[in-house]
């Protein structure tokens, strides 16, 4: 069943049609990658669905309910969560606090001002458990601002995951991370979402990651969807490789074309 579908969704910034009448569908339980060159509209699309931006036109349906007019708060309560490309964490609070806040919020406990947070052991146990799943439990007491970049990217995902969402958007979960750290991060994330049966949409630029971890790939270009299929189908799609080759995709095509030119 379609967990999320958009119909003719559009958003412009001045002259720039960032998202141009997009029909985007996410099916329950799948792991989907959203790729495209810079400016293709991937982050804008995620911002529209998560509620950061209001669309100019079109509709968004989540779990068969129209959420187009809903605030980001309502969408989060409905089960949509996201991580951020530029890490957004509570830097002065500990890693454990960061995750615990998601749990408190999910449980509707954040308006409790008359009870001590430390007494709610259920929340803290769950938060500790999440940190352990993400391999961050040794950093539990350390402020989020003080851990390494790769760990911050993981924590950013963990904070979103702790909301126990039905649909999770990961905006470039490995950007800025060294190549050898990427796969371990994605291994952790992928194992967790599969175990939790969470539907995930990943925005990624690294094609190795994309082809290795996704079941389905949606390619965007200049605000519209260019292609949509399994990794094999996309790999064989000439239009996709031509459009994406302008920016670096993998090392090989660039070398091949150089060879052609040299010959």
């Amino acid at each position: 069943m379609n967990l999320l579908s958009t119909r003719a969704l559009a958003k412009s910034f001045g002259e720039n049609r960032a998202v141009n009448s997009v029909d985007f569908v996410v099916r329950q339980g799948e792991v989907l990658s959203l790729i495209g060159s810079n400016g293709a509209g991937k982050t804008t699309l995620v911002n529209l669905v998560s509620g950061l931006y209001r669309p100019d036109s079109g509709s968004i349906v989540f779990e068969e309910r129209d959420v187009t007019r809903q605030s980001s708060y309502e969408r989060i309560k409905a089960g949509i969560a996201r991580s951020f490309q530029l890490v957004n964490l509570f830097d002065q609070l500990s890693c454990l606090d960061n995750v615990a806040l998601s749990v408190f919020s999910r449980e509707g406990k954040t308006l409790n001002f008359a009870t001590l947070a430390s007494r709610d052991s259920a929340v803290w146990e769950e938060a500790q458990g999440v940190l352990r799943q993400f391999g961050l439990d040794s950093k539990a007491a350390i402020p989020a601002g003080a851990i390494s970049h790769g760990e911050r990217k993981l924590l950013d995902v963990a904070v979103a995951y702790a909301l126990r969402p039905k649909l999770l958007f990961l905006d470039e979960p490995t950007s800025g991370v060294s190549t050898r750290e990427k796969a371990p991060i994605m291994d952790i994330v992928s194992a967790i979402v599969r175990a939790g049966r969470i539907t995930v949409v990943i925005i990624e630029h690294d094609m190795d990651i994309v082809f290795r971890y996704s079941e389905r790939i949606v390619v965007m270009h200049q605000g519209a969807i260019l292609a949509d299929g399994t990794p094999d189908e996309i790999r064989r799609n000439d239009e996709v490789t031509t459009t994406l080759i302008g920016t670096h995709v993998t090392g090989e095509p660039a070398i091949e074309s150089e060879n052609h030119a040299g010959r």
Binding site: I76, L89, F90, L101, T110, F113, A114, L116, A117, D120
Partner: protein
């Protein structure tokens, strides 16, 4: 084990301080006791102020509005309703300061940082100008007199000084203690954590499902209520309510007290309030250019010692521990 250690550490300084505060009127002279009394009253105000600054990341330059509202409520209750009960004064002041901080807060919390700061400043100046202009109601610059109130039904004795430095002192100390406990629970509650999240990253807070405007407004109103309580306690102490209690320079003193004590810690604001009250009492005798001194120290503090007195204390404590 950790929890016990930190509890012991807290008790190590909290118990002597509590004993000192309780014993003060019997040990030191009336002038000292009065200064301490003013310090405790301002301590309540700055404690409330810091819920906004230290915990929610909102810097208000207009807190004199809620303090002044509390003070003038007492004055009006005396003048127009002939009330003399401190409990009624407190109830009235809390009510009025909550209403005003709600009204002002609804406008101010839609903004952050600069806009928030100037809006709070501007709104408190409006209140000040109203107190000034409607002098037939507020007594203008002459102010309104506030006689000594009855505490828990018991009328004050004939000796005002005796009353202030004993009965009133312990009354204020009790309320101060209650305020400290209430604020401590608030900042350590899930709500307090949510405020800190909003302070650190409002986007992320929004995206874990926290409605930041609502939470900021609640913090604003609680903060205003604390200032109102302080204003009510201050009124009988000062004996007179004038527009000076609403003017922006007084808001500046509240800000200064928080920065002086260290706004990153829980007790920093209280330490700052008491320290400032002592400093002011002695410095005002030296110079009429009080603003100049205050402003310079504030600039120096922000440049060199942004964590204030408590920051310095933390550094010293860390240095002492390190050789282990």
């Amino acid at each position: 084990m950790q929890k016990h250690r930190s509890l012991l550490r807290t008790l190590a300084w909290a118990v002597p301080v509590a004993i000192a505060l309780t014993a003060a009127p019997h040990v030191v002279g009336p002038f000292q006791t009065l200064t301490l009394l003013y310090g405790l009253v301002f301590g309540i105000a700055v404690l409330g102020f810091n819920l906004l600054l230290g915990y929610t990341g909102l810097l208000s330059f207009g807190h004199s509005a809620y303090f002044g509202a509390g003070a003038y409520t007492v004055a009006f209750m005396v003048k127009y309703f002939k009330i003399a009960s401190m409990e009624l004064f407190l109830a009235g002041s809390v009510l009025v300061s909550v209403i005003i901080s709600l009204l002002f807060g609804v406008v101010c919390v839609r903004y952050t940082k600069i806009f928030f700061g100037i809006l709070t400043l501007a709104l408190s100046q409006v209140l000040w100008s109203l107190a000034f202009k409607f002098f037939w109601v507020t007594g203008g610059t002459d102010g309104l007199r506030i006689p000594t109130p009855s505490l828990l039904g018991a009328p004050p004795g004939a000796d005002k000084m005796e009353f202030l430095t004993f009965q009133y002192y312990y009354y204020v100390l009790a309320i101060f203690t209650v305020c400290v406990i209430v604020m401590w629970v608030i900042v350590h509650s899930p709500f307090g954590k949510a405020l800190q999240a909003i302070r650190d990253n409002e986007t992320r807070a929004e995206f874990i499902g926290i409605r930041i405007r609502r939470y900021r407004l609640i913090a604003f109103v609680v903060s205003g209520a604390f200032a109102g309580v302080a204003g009510a306690l201050w009124a009988p102490l000062n004996g007179l309510a004038t527009p000076d209690v609403l003017v922006w320079t007084f808001s500046g003193e509240i800000v200064f007290m928080a920065v002086l004590g260290g706004f990153n810690s829980f007790i920093g604001p209280i330490v700052g309030a008491v320290a400032f009250t002592y400093l002011k009492t002695y410095a005002v005798g030296f110079t009429v250019y009080w603003q100049l001194l205050l402003g310079t120290v504030l600039v120096v503090l922000v440049l060199a010692l942004p964590k204030g007195i408590m920051g310095m204390v933390e550094l010293l404590v860390a240095k002492v521990r390190r050789p282990r």
